[in-house]
Amino acid sequence: MTFKIESHNHPSYVEPYQGAATGVGGIVRDILTMGARPVAVMDSLRFGRIDAPDTARVLPGVVAGIGGYGNCLGLPNVGGEVYFDDSYAGNPLVNALCVGVMRTDGIKLAKADGPGNHVVLFGARTGGDGIGGASVLASATFDDDGKPAKRPSVQVGDPFTEKLLIECCLAIFAADLVVGIQDLGAAGLSCAITELASAGDVGMRVRLDVVPLRDSSLAPEEILMSESQERMCAVVEPEKLARVLELCERWGVTATAIGEVTDTGRVDIGWHNEQIADLPPRSVAHDGPIYDRPIRRPDDLDALQADSPAVLRRPSTVDELRETLLRMISAPNLAGKRWVTDQYDRYVQGNTALAHPHDAGVIRIDESTGLGVAVATDGNGRYCRLDPYVGAQLALAEAYRNVAACGSRPVAVTDCLNFGSPEDPTVMWQFAETVQGLADGCVELGTPVTGGNVSFYNQTGSTPINPTPVIGMLGVIADVANRVRIGWPEGCRLLLLGSTRDEFGGSEWAWHVHGHLGGRPPTVDLAAERALADVLVGAADAGLLRAAHDLSDGGLAQALVESAIAGCVGASVRLPGDPFVALFSESAARAVVAVDPAEEAAFGDLCAGAGVVCTVLGETGGSMLTVDGVFDVSLDELRAAHKSPLPARFD
C-alpha cells in the first residue's frame, strides 16, 4: 500500500471548485508515480463559521470540486472530516488523501539514471495556468509585448485526462518501461527535472522548444514554471522509447521526448538555439535555504490554559440535559455530514466495505482473501491551540482509535501539518511542539510516518489559524467481511471501554454552548490507546463485536446518537457517575461497543487481560434513546436534529 495526504488550501480559497479538484488530482498523481493504482480518496476539510457569507461560497465549491474530480476518476471517497471554526474564515483547509495498491517489487522511484536515456514528458499539454502558484514569478508582468497582462495562478483540472494518464502509466509500469518517474506538481517542469537529476546524481539536457504547448505565446521561463495539471515526466531507456510512445498514443496521451540524461552532472535547459539555464541540479532540488527560525511560546498561552472550563455553567436539570443533547448533536461540527458525503461516490469500483459515517473508510484490496485496509483522518485545532504537543497526540490517538474501531490493525501514518506563518515565532513554536508530539506519539504507538506535507502561511493578516495537524492513519484488516460498523443490532449489550474524566478543555460543548476555548485538552494516554486498540481488534478478529464506535468530539452522547441513527436501533442506557460528565466529556482512549449477551463474558475477559476498564451501559433495541432517569428521545427527533443543519444552510 502507499498513501499520502497533501494540502491544497490556498488555491481552494481563491477558486474553490478548481482548487479542491486539482488537490485531488495532485495527490492521486503522487500515488500513481510510486507505481501504484489509486483505489480510494478522502478529504479533511475546515471552513470558517457555518453562517459566514464566505463559507457559503467556499464550502459548496470545494465539495463540488472534490466530487466532480474524484467521481469522474472513478475513485471512491470513503471518509474524512468537515469542521467549522472562525480561525479558518480566510484560510479554509482542504487536505486530500489518496490510497494506492502496488506490488512491493513494482515501486517506481523519482530518479533519473543512465546517461543517454530519454526524458519523456507526457500527459496534458503545457499552458499558462498555475504559473507562480508556488513561486515568486507571479509578480512579473507581461503586458509590454501584447501577451496576457496577468497569468492566473489557478490551475484547471481535467479528470478525464487524468484517468487516461493513470491507465497509461499503469500500462507502462506493467511493461517495465521506465527507469524513473515523477509527477509535475508545484513549480512544474523545473522542479521535476531537477529533482529527477539530483536524485540520480546525473545531468540532464532538456529542450523546451519541443514541449507541446496549449498556448504558443508562452516564454521559456513560463514553460518551466507552468503548473498545468495532469502531466508526468519519465526517464526511459532508448530501446524502450518507441514502446512508451506507442502506449501513450494508445491511451490518447500526448508524449514527447524533451531531452536526455547526461553524465555532466549539470542540468542544461535550451530554447531553440539558446541556453536558458545551466546549473547543478542539487542547487535547485536539495540545497534549499536552511532557516533557523526563532521560536517563542505564545504570550497568551498561560492565560488561555488558566481559563478553565470548570467555571462554565453546566446543565443541571434533566430538561436542560435533554436540551443540551439536542443542541450538541446539531452543532455544525457534530451534525451529520451527509450533505457533503452524498456528493461523493463512495462505492464506485465495488470494493468499499465501509465509508462515512463509519469511523474509518474500509477498502477491500484482494477479492480472493478479503484482505483490506482502513483509513481515517483526524485533527482538532482547538486542542492544538491549547497545547500543540498534546493536541497533536490526541489527533494521532483518535485516528488510531478510529481505525481500530473498524476492526483493523493501525500500521502507518501520513500527516498534513497546517499552520500560520513560520516567520511568527509563536507559530514556529506551535509547529515545533506539534512535530515533537507526533514523533514521540508515533514511536509509542509503533506507527511510522511514511510521508505527508506541511502548509504554512495559513493566516489572515497577523492572525494565524489554530495549529491543525491532520493525521491520516492506515490500518490492515485480514478480511473486510469482519469489519465492524457503528450501528447496533437489536438485543445487544452496550459497553463503554475506557475511563471518563471531567475533561472539557477545548471541548465541543464549551465551544458550541459557551463560545469558550480555554483550559487544558484531555489527557493523552497512549498506552491506554494501545490497550483499547488491542481489545477492539482482538474482539473483531474473534467475532465478538456486533458494533463499535470511538468516542471523540461531543463525547459519549454524540457516539450514542450516531450509532443509533446509523443502525436505526435505539438503546436504553444507565450512566455511570455525573450524567453531564458521562455524556459530554471528551476523555480520550474510549469506545462504545455492542456485544451479544452470550459473549459478554468472553469479551470481559479480553478487556481484563488488556487492562481496559469495561462498564456496562445498557441494552440496544427499540426506537428510543433512553438514558435512565435523565431523558428519552425518539430516533426520529434525534435524526431530525442531527441531519438538518447542513442542508438548512447550503441547500
Binding site: 481563491v14 496576457p148 497569468r151 492566473p152 484547471v156 496549449r214 490518447g252
Partner: protein, 77 residues
C-alpha cells in the same frame, strides 16, 4: 424590454477540457481542418429599459461568469 447578450469564455490561457474533447471528436466524425475549439456559455437576458449596461456587467461578473478563470463580453441585441 431590451435584449442583452452575455458571452462567457474561459480565459485564453485556461485549460478548456470541453473544447479539447470537441476538437478531438471532430476528426473521428470525419470533419477535418479544425485546429482548435474553445467552448463557452451564451446568455440571453431580457431586461427592463432602465437597466444599464453597467448593471448587466455586474450581473455577469457576480453570477454568470467566474472572473477568476473566465472573461465575458456584454452586448445589446
Amino acid at each position: 424590454m431590451a435584449r442583452v447578450v452575455v458571452d462567457v469564455m474561459l480565459k485564453p490561457e485556461i485549460l478548456d477540457p470541453q473544447g479539447q474533447a470537441i476538437a478531438q471528436a471532430l476528426p473521428r466524425l470525419g470533419f477535418g481542418g479544425v485546429a482548435d475549439v474553445r467552448a463557452g456559455k451564451h446568455f440571453v437576458l431580457d431586461v427592463d429599459d432602465d437597466v444599464s449596461e453597467q448593471a448587466v456587467r455586474e450581473i455577469a461578473d457576480t453570477l454568470l461568469a467566474n472572473p477568476v478563470i473566465e472573461d465575458f463580453e456584454v452586448r445589446a441585441e
